[in-house]
């Protein structure tokens, strides 16, 4: 009986979160195009619906009605598997990210997280590693040179930055004493946000997150001027849409991760001192989470239109010679900080 209840509540949560994510992704694409237009002194999408607001739906229907082309040279099974893997990763990682504290709805205690598990951080790390396969498979199986180069570059880049990402997270774990995302957020009450306590770890994590999501200045896998479309050159129709969706969903997850690990999650400093009723506090906290996310997403797009792309050797140098030692340094710094504080 209890299991059935959990299953029903979880399914409702999954539906809500996935719908929210799909809507956010569509409008993220719209806002990215609007912001890039603004950065380049253009107008951007303005034809479909008022101010172009229906553009995302037009794009989706266009992709849905396109022919699905699989080239002769491609290895068909892996070619089909790759976008599925990308989507799978993008739509599983959200499960452990908490967007608010637990609340009581109709007498049930509901956590505002899909799965509150004790190994949440390991779950995210494991899945992001699977994400590398999606890109490597798509590059290898397409039978196109551009795809292959994009896939090779991308896998080398992602695994290089995964190490500094792993060590930065270890710094967060030192404070939280748990791998449970909810515990990590709770450990950052007041102004004890990890971004302030361990700024070096924050910076290395943010840089690694950019590299992991293949966003500019780390978008070498799909550097348009040299590699056409990179690993998804040979993809069309919904398979292309799958990669596109996964890329933007990964942006959302990356910013949610940055918020959970470093920016205090849903927490608003000292809100409990204002003496507001419980439901208002929860409402403000959930809103705070989404506001933080909006700011970070804007930051990611802003960086895209402000920084030029790295050269391949610069990117690898940064990953192995700068980020990696810095994240180690951060780990030692946090350990010393804990010893001083106790």
């Amino acid at each position: 009986m209890e299991i059935l209840q959990i299953a029903v509540i979880t399914l409702v949560k999954i539906l809500i979160v996935v719908t929210l994510m799909l809507l956010t992704v569509s409008y993220l694409v719209y806002f990215e195009r609007k912001i890039s237009a603004w950065a380049q002194n253009r107008v951007g999408p303005n034809r479909v619906g008022p101010a172009g607001l229906l553009q995302p739906f037009a794009d989706v229907f266009k992709l849905l009605l396109k022919e699905d082309i699989v080239p002769f040279a491609a290895t068909k099974s892996i070619h089909t598997l790759a976008p599925m893997l990308a989507l799978f990763v993008a739509f599983t990682t959200y499960a452990v990210i908490p967007i608010g504290p637990s609340v009581e709805i109709f007498g049930y205690k509901v956590d505002l997280v899909v799965a509150d598990v004790n190994m949440g951080i390991l779950y995210i790390l494991a899945l992001t590693s699977v994400g590398v396969y999606a890109i490597t498979f798509s590059g290898w199986s397409s039978g196109s040179k551009y795809s292959l180069l994009g896939g090779v570059r991308s896998s080398a880049q992602m695994i290089s930055y995964e190490i500094s990402m792993g060590f930065s997270i270890a710094g967060v774990l030192l404070f939280a004493e748990s791998l449970r995302p909810v515990a990590i957020v709770n450990a950052q009450s007041g102004l004890m946000w990890n971004a302030f306590v361990q700024p070096i770890g924050f910076i290395t994590f943010v840089v690694a997150a950019f590299a992991e999501t293949n966003r500019l200045p780390f978008d070498l896998p799909e550097a348009e001027p040299e590699l056409v479309g990179g690993y998804h050159t040979e993809y069309s129709s919904m398979k292309f849409a799958g990669f596109f969706l996964a890329e933007y969903a990964n942006m959302i997850i990356a910013s949610a991760m940055i918020i959970t690990l470093y920016l205090g999650g849903w927490q608003v400093p000292y809100i409990e001192k204002l003496g507001l009723p419980d439901y208002a506090v929860v409402l403000i906290q959930v809103t705070a989470f989404f506001v933080k996310m909006g700011v970070l997403l804007f930051f990611i797009i802003w960086v895209r239109w402000s920084l030029p792309r790295f050269r391949y050797d610069q990117l690898m140098d940064l990953g192995w010679k700068v980020m990696f030692p810095l994240s180690l340094l951060n780990l030692i710094w946090v350990a010393i900080l804990i010893m001083i504080m106790n």
Binding site: I6, S144, A156, S160, A170, L179, D317
Partner: protein, 124 residues
Amino acid sequence: MLVEYIPLFLVIAFAIVFAFGTVFSSKIFGPQRPNPEKLSTYESGVQPVGTTHERMSVKYYLVAMLFIIFDLEVIFVYPWAVQFKKLYLDPSVGTTAFYAMLIFLVVFEIGYLYVYKKGGFKWD
């Protein structure tokens, strides 16, 4: 204990269905009119030359090997990180918890410096 993993399995099942559905929906809605020109791979408008399954530079594999070595160290650090505060506050362990990890990291850094000196981080 295991009950808290049920939502995760549901999420994974949902994601698999979603991924299949998205990728195969174009088979239903999209047209299928293949021709040889359309099915050739893109190569700036000329006939594709040779195959793609050729040998890659060994440096690429070196990155993969270095990744495996260093990423394993990360996994060794995690259990320590989770337990560190408890170990430090335990009078029978104290600062040993810190120095033990420091020695581990120093040994690890010697390996890193060796790879550095050997030119393992030169990509050109």
